[in-house]
Structures are given as C-alpha cells and as structure tokens.
Subunit: 159 residues, 2 copies
Amino acid sequence: MLNEQQLKFLERAIELARMGTTENKGGPFGCVIVRQGEIIAEGYNEVTSDNDPTAHAEIVAIRKACRNLGTWQLTDCDVYASCEPCPMCLGAVYWARVNSVVYANTRHDAAAINFDDDFIYREININAAERKIRFQHYPHPKAKEVFDYWMAVESKLKY
Amino acid sequence: MLNEQQLKFLERAIELARMGTTENKGGPFGCVIVRQGEIIAEGYNEVTSDNDPTAHAEIVAIRKACRNLGTWQLTDCDVYASCEPCPMCLGAVYWARVNSVVYANTRHDAAAINFDDDFIYREININAAERKIRFQHYPHPKAKEVFDYWMAVESKLKY
C-alpha cells in the first residue's frame, strides 16, 4: 500500500506521462524523483523529440536529480514511475543506488501497447548467440590491462 | 573471429577506456559506434566527472551517434565496447536497435574490479520483493488510461 503522499507522487508521474504524450515528446511514460518528501526532479519520455533512445522518463529524471544535487548517487531518493522500469532504466536505478521504486503499469501492459520492455527483459536471459542482436565476446589482453590499471590507481572515484 | 577492421574498432574502444581512466573521467570503459565502416561516435565512462550515473561509455556513444545522425535509431550501426554492456547499456543497445555488439572484457571481469554489472544482471531475475532495491507495483487506473490514450493517437511516432 501507498500512503497519501506516495500516491500523490505516483499520480504526478502519471500526469507527466500524459503531458509528454499530449505534447508529442515521446512515449507515454513519466517519472519523479523524491527526496525527503519533496520532488527534486521530474521527467517524461523524450526519445523521439530529443533523438535520444536513452531519454526514457526515469533516465531523464535521474540525470536531472543528479545534476540538481551535484552527485552521481541518489541513495536517499525514491523513484515513482508511471510504468515498471525497462532493463535500461532498472540498470540506471541500480547505478544511481536509489532507495526504492514505485510503479503503476507493468512491462506486460507496455507490451500490450507495442513497447519492447518485456521483449528486452527476455533477451537478457537468452544465450548471447541466440539474441536478436548479435553479441560477440572477443577477449583482448589490452582490455584486461585497462582493468588492471584501474585497480592500481589509488586516487580513483569509485561508483 | 574479428577481421582486421573490426579489431581496430575494438582496440579504439579499449583506448578510449584507458583515456577516460587516465583523465579521471570515470570508470575504465570505452565504446565506439561504427556505421558503413566508419566510427561515427565515441564515448568513455563519465559517471563521476559528469555527475551522471547513466553516463556509461555505451550510453554516451549512442547519444552522440543519434545526435550526429538526427535519429533515435541506429539500425545500421555496430557497437564496439571494451567491456560487455551492463543491463542499462544492453537496454540502450536494444532501444537504439543497433545491428551488433562486440565486446572484450566480461561482466565477470568487471565484477573482479568491483563493478556492479554482474550483480545487476542477477537482480533482474530475482523476484521484485527480494531485490536489494525495493520495487513496488501499485496499479493505477489513470496510468492505464494514459496507455489507452497513446494507443488511440494516430499521429504518434513509434519507437
């Protein structure tokens, strides 16, 4: 269950989804990032208007929230999204290390209106050789060297 | 196997990984996008320098490539990455609908130098209630309405 304030945040995310759609920004998806009871960033899908396949509502909102706070971590923030994050946005949520995610529609609802979220979730678990997009692993000693170099740098900023 | 030209592209991605690391831009990851035998965009990880948890090498390169081409689809492009794309970048690769992905290091190599790629791949397959980040599904009729509205709009740009 959500409390009244949480429901308000989710409904704002849904409102953003509708705004983005009616204003022809992109697909029907919205998101807000909340910190200490306040919305610190909002986003809607801007894929087609911004020529950016990564401009999903959650990515847009996470990037804004980080810019606003001057950090690359949102550890004390919660994400409210009009739809279940796709694998790309789920990854972004983990890299930003948010506290929690609340969403309304599901990946299956998204599939029903012809979005690939569920398809991509399924592709992740398919053997790379059988995926629709070909993934080829080619080990290279120089690539390993860069990782070794990184491990040896003491001044690095971890994330 | 890779041909000589493909190997050159992969090695450029590895070189970018090293450049990003030595210049303190972020983690040791690089990527190039290739179209018709030419590199059209390059990227390295800029998470910590840009305060952007989504600024992985692949995301940076995909966004640049799309900006350069004025499109949100990279259907005739190939991705060369110094490391296997994380779930976020795999998602971006699918949304951009690239032709193929070649990578050197793996998610397990990344785990060995303390990056979460493999962890996030495992989290995807865990029941949402057991994930490290709490995912809460709260169905809302207004969210469904936005999807219905989207389906009814005839002029929409699909992606």
